[in-house]
Symmetry: C2
Subunit: 100 residues, 2 copies
């Protein structure tokens, strides 16, 4: 979970995720739009891949990057769990008020 949130804690990586929804962009095509070297973008994609946020599929001599919603869902559930603890507090407060 640490690594999942870490992967999301970078604007470039989140942008890559957004653009990879259709899975039709190669690493070099993605890299062309960022103000950094190809290798740097390659590393960002690797970080996303290691936590399962994207997968790569070969097409000819390029690798297409596709974002995977599964991992995204895992992150959302972790946030939901945190929020749920908070909702539980609201309920306890309501219960207290109802006792009056």
């Amino acid at each position: 979970m640490d690594r999942l949130f870490h992967a999301l804690a970078d604007a470039t990586r989140r942008d890559i995720l957004r653009r990879s929804v259709d899975g039709e962009l190669s690493v070099s095509r993605l890299a062309a739009d960022y103000p950094m070297s190809f290798a740097a973008v390659q590393k960002h994609v690797a970080v996303l891949e290691q936590v399962g946020l994207v997968t790569k599929v070969r097409r000819g001599r390029e690798l297409l990057v596709r974002s995977e919603p599964e991992a995204l869902r895992r992150a959302r559930e972790a946030l939901d769990q945190l929020e749920e603890a908070w909702r539980g507090r609201i309920q306890r407060m309501s219960a207290l008020l109802d006792e009056d």
Copy 2:
């Protein structure tokens, strides 16, 4: 947003968040339960505070830590936005299939 996700990318910080829902635990009380120095926990709380995930309220000589659901909601919305792009893709695929 980078710093928000970064703050969430640490198990100790997420645990502090969970335990601070009721806002009744002081920094030192929190710190007592982690295998690290008081100063280290203090730093974790500071990270959470800087992105608005918790606030501190004085009670006597201690500072009570309370988690703030607002910031959590911001993170969730960012994830929702990413997932929405993906749902849009599903819809486009469905539309294509319907054309047949």
